[in-house]
Assembly symmetry: D2
Homo-oligomer: 93 residues x 4
């Protein structure tokens, strides 16, 4: 439950509209929107690199798997691959 | 289906390992990882702003709704709000 | 960290392959797959209803919003709509 | 753009409120809500099976990987595993 400190009496420096810190609210929203724009641009850049990778003959799905593996500890990767192998044989895959 | 151009004969400038353009692959992966790091940092920055907003007494859920509305055309927002009102009354909400 | 109780010595009732409770593993996987199929079918049914709604002239986006609102407490909905109105006026929207 | 066929003149069999086919709208919403409830129940059932799997000593992450693999064609799985191996060696992983 917010304490509604943002709803204050007018007469402050901030351009209070309807008893709210309008400038503060606007600043918060515009900063979030700017950062979201940057995130979107980065997502586009990543997509471009995968397009480049595909054009160069690489398998994008496998590259994504490599990136996932690199985020894990090598010992953890090895343990899971061992288990995967055991489970597959148990299932006759 | 990739054309496997990335799997080429050795003897090129690129450090080909197992017939693959290893340097090119490494460059692709490292660039993606760097951009993903930046995206993660931006997500953290956005989260910080919402924490700040909450501390200032704003309702974060409502701010998110404002940001969604600002992405739409005003005419579209108005039409949907009119319909929402009609549907709610039809349902006795 | 799993305790690897599933990796046991052979000679049990279960068809142990590589020291693993193969039948148990297979049962777990097949049950999950069956439930995932059912979830997928339900997602298809929901999509069909929205297609029907659209054909009947309803706005699907607004129906989704109605469904979201019905999940919340009426008092909570009202408080958020009041705040949304205050924030919008503060921002001159 | 919906054709607003749902907004019709009153005097029909349907309990038209504000010129809308209220019964039809209510039926659509209630059917979606029921199916969403079923989906949620299935998600809970799946979670229970994974809890059971973990208790039996299985690695849940590896089971999820098995389920993903079973959705693919064996030839596709093999090709990707070959490529994964090539890429890893190229990167010295």
């Amino acid at each position: 439950m917010p304490d509604h400190a943002a709803v204050h009496s007018s007469g402050e420096d901030d351009a209070a509209v309807g008893g709210i810190a309008a400038d503060r609210l606007r600043s918060i929203i515009e900063r979030v929107e700017r950062l979201e724009e940057e995130r979107k641009a980065l997502a586009g850049d990543i997509k471009d690199i995968f397009t480049e990778a595909k054009s160069a003959g690489f398998d994008v799905k496998v590259i994504r798997q490599i990136i996932r593996l690199r985020k894990q500890e090598p010992a953890e990767v090895e343990e899971q691959e061992t288990l995967l192998d055991i489970y597959r044989r148990a299932l006759g895959m």
